[in-house]
Symmetry: C2
Subunit: 145 residues, 2 copies
DNA sequence: CATCAATTGCAACACTGTTGCAAAACAAAC
DNA sequence: GTTTGTTTTGCAACAGTGTTGCAATTGATG
């Protein structure tokens, strides 16, 4: 619980989300870490307290309200990262624009690298590119030190 | 069946894969298209002829033998693309090196763009990048014409 | 043909994600 | 504070994907 109870509630209210127990606790989990969390991460950390369906619905809602974003890593695992606080490799309050995701091969964590630019890429004639997603793999700051 | 029966068998034998019925038919499907196929694509095209588990095992084996590679798109769907023949946007016989995948928002197909370079990206200090995966989204050559 | 190894199909299972519905919690009005 | 209507939650059920174990089949080899 690194964050103040009241700050969590304030963030929820700012997005017109009713601050219920499960919502406070899930948002608190995101604010406590600087990497992405999977549904099962969250389910385990809140062991037995809430139904898994409610967690799915909460995550979907947080996504719609812009509090978190969904990340599918290249092994197919879905995770979610907070937009505020610890979700980023630097202390940006928001990193809602397109950015690179870094997956550590050692600890498995996914970090949002919002401080580096997404490069431009030209696609072959005939293709019309709208979005470019980048994901890196390697060893994270913590595991390499 | 764009390809010769004998060519399929030759490719299988070259990788020391016994040319059984299901293997010939699956490899033939890959050689017939220039985009990636999902397990269920394959299962449906070979309707009722083979067990789904055998298809999974065949795909895994083709992957290990270097005939196809696995692609997880950013919505979490797993597909497989052939290394030879039509799997690529240009007629490379092999494109086993790292390359960009393009997903068409209209038809849903995934194409391997092996003719364009994967850019270099610098990650923040402390991170050690080993692989960089790129996936583009937009409108494919066919759907935009 | 007999033998042994590889391949296949089937049953069962785990995991992820979704939907419908009824109970509970909550906010607003009386 | 009680009634009323809306949101939220939990539960049951289900679909899709992928994996494993095992027995039956197929195929290669002598
Ligand atoms: Mn991110
Ligand atoms: Mn490819
Ligand atoms: Zn790590
Ligand atoms: Zn298309």
């Amino acid at each position: 619980m690194a964050e103040e109870f009241n700050e969590i509630i304030a963030v929820l209210k700012a997005q017109h989300i009713r601050p219920t127990k499960i919502r406070e606790e899930i948002l608190n989990l995101f604010f406590d870490v600087n990497h992405a969390l999977s549904h099962s991460d969250i389910f385990l950390k809140l062991k037995n307290k809430f139904d898994r369906v409610t967690i799915y619905r909460t995550l979907e809602m947080f996504g719609n309200k812009g509090l978190i974003h969904k990340i599918v890593d290249n092994s197919g695992v879905t995770k979610y990262a907070s937009h505020g606080h610890g979700g980023c490799d630097v202390n940006f309050k928001h990193h809602k624009t397109n950015h690179i995701h870094f997956k550590c091969k050692q600890c498995g964590n996914i970090y949002c690298l919002c401080s580096i630019e997404v490069p431009k890429v030209d696609v072959p004639a005939g293709y019309e590119m709208q979005v470019l997603n980048l994901s890196a793999e390697g060893i994270c700051k913590i595991c390499s030190s």
